[in-house]
């Protein structure tokens, strides 16, 4: 996987003080853009990716040779129309697709960081990405958009930079990771740690990766992205290329085979240490706590227009957690719209072809842009 030639990076010279207390400087942010920035620089949309996403939002991802993770929503004439808007997305710090992360070399020791990389937070991620806005000379973004961990970044961004976005769209997310969210992330981390190849995070030097642990982490997480009904309808108890049960531990059921496949393709594109760092950042996320338990205070400085979207079958970041954000915004009289989209596709709905979602997103953006 030689990634370097397809990755645009911004080298951030300004020091960034992380929540953990450490300061980083001269660090790279890998990013991609789509569409073009207009003369007034008022058509830029910053998209934030989820846990395992990257900067390649749409079109062909040159690293994986697959469609970008949000190809349904972003592109020519799509919800986030690249004929109209200038879309920017960057790989989060802690990630593994070019931004400063645990697979980078520590300039002091010239060794790969591994778990010596500082623990980062959602706050650190958005503070790092803010440098891109300055890089493009954009005074105010037309919109900031993201689902799942991307939505958490949206919330943190507008809290940190209240006058830097006109519209704010957190999708299928939460303002604070629940015990259940943390539990599933811990399961993934422990699966990685249980793989002897992980070796306390020092696997790069051995040239062997903890692929089995990372695959199990992905399999467990993948279940949380789908709904029971969706799984039942797609797989039920269907058998995998066999007439009957084999009375063994091979993948008898299609669902088993599917999960194994999801695990195996994931390890080709994702770094196990990055998985640890990013899930940790999500677990540490508690926006209300940053404001002494009053979530409304996180938004009191902004005049931005919010649009919050949840999905009926999302049990990872259920509607109520999205509504709690709406309630916090209404408590301070903020301009906030909210819709819960009917879908059987679980948390993953925001990534998939869910027409009601895609049209709501498009209508909100396009109407807001006209009034801009």
């Amino acid at each position: 996987m030689n990634t370097e030639k397809n990755i645009k990076t911004l080298l951030v010279k300004k020091p960034l003080k992380l929540d953990c207390g450490k300061t980083i400087n001269n660090f790279p942010i890998a990013y991609e853009t789509y569409g073009s920035l207009n003369e007034k620089k008022d058509n830029a949309i910053l998209v934030f990716h989820a846990l395992t996403g990257d900067q390649f939002v749409t079109g062909l991802n040159p690293i994986t040779n697959k469609d970008g993770w949000w190809s349904y929503a972003v592109g020519s004439n799509k919800s986030i129309d690249t004929n109209k808007y200038f879309v920017i997305c960057s790989n989060v710090i802690g990630g593994c697709l070019g931004s400063f992360g645990p697979n980078h070399k520590d300039p002091e020791t010239q060794k790969v960081f591994g778990t010596n990389f500082p623990v980062i937070t959602i706050n650190d991620m958005v503070n790092a990405q803010y440098n891109l806005i300055e890089h493009f000379g954009i005074d105010k973004l037309f919109s900031i958009v993201g689902g799942s961990m991307g939505g958490m970044q949206v919330l943190q961004f507008i809290s940190n930079f209240p006058d830097k976005a006109k519209t704010v769209i957190p999708i299928a997310c939460t303002s604070s990771h629940s015990a259940q969210n943390i539990a599933f992330n811990e399961l993934g981390r422990q699966a990685i740690a249980a793989d002897s190849n992980w070796n306390e995070g020092n696997y790069n030097s051995k040239d062997t990766i903890p692929d089995k642990g990372l695959a199990v982490a992905r399999m467990a997480a993948h279940i949380t992205y789908l709904s029971k009904k969706g799984l039942q309808e797609k797989f039920g108890r269907k058998l995998q290329e066999r007439e009957d049960l084999k009375f063994g531990f091979d993948a008898d059921f299609q669902i088993e085979s599917y999960l194994r496949y999801q695990g195996s393709v994931f390890v080709d594109r994702f770094d196990a240490n990055s998985y640890l760092y990013i899930t940790r950042a999500m677990d540490y996320f508690d926006l209300g706590k940053q404001f002494n338990g009053n979530l409304s205070d996180a938004f009191k400085e902004t005049r931005a227009k919010f649009f919050i979207i949840s999905f009926t079958s999302d049990w990872l970041y259920p509607t109520q957690e999205n509504k709690d954000i709406v309630i916090a915004l209404n408590a301070i009289g903020a301009d906030v719209g909210f819709v819960e989209i009917e879908s059987d596709k679980g948390h993953d709905s925001f990534l998939l072809d869910v027409p009601d979602f895609l049209s709501a997103l498009k209508n909100f953006l396009d109407k807001s842009y006209i009034e801009n």
Binding site: K305, V326, N330, D335, V336, G337, F338, V339, A360
Partner: protein, 198 residues
Amino acid sequence: MKNEFKVIAELIEQDKKVLDVGCADGTLMKFLKDNKNINIRGLEISKDKVQKCIAKGLTVIEGNAEKDLMQFPDKSFDYVVLSQTLQAFLNPEKVINELLRVGKKAIVTIPNFGYWKIRLHLLTKGTMPITKTLPDEWYNTPNLHMCTIKDFVHFVKSRNIKIFKSIALNNENVSSINDTNLGVKNLYADLGIFLIEK
């Protein structure tokens, strides 16, 4: 736009902040936004209708007035509008109290069950009345607590709620209701519109 909305719009001054509870497809909201520069929000229970509002560029929250009005601070709107839905709530009194808590004033419209056509229908046919404003059968109507204009006036007075304006609507015909003509309006109007405050 229906006459009811024109009357409601006339009750609201320019540049105010308004919440439309049960805003449906946003027709009234759009009119108020475009013609009176109203800072307008909607609350709507139907997903389809919320989508229609979004397509019009309106700020709407999907939700249920009986549960979701709670989240708005006291007197955070100049006006709260409730058009022809009071009778559909499990607890209309609670909703009225919430409207008057959230809004400095509330505009409530009710389909008048005292309208002569309704009375006549029940009297002559002996079946539950079906009219233009009340088109559903008894078994599928969303209306749980029908009332007449007189009932509503008695109710608000008993709760010490101030009535600023009472308007009777009969198709295109708009007239004001007062203590002396209440009985007549209760017979001839199919809709009552009330501007109230507590």
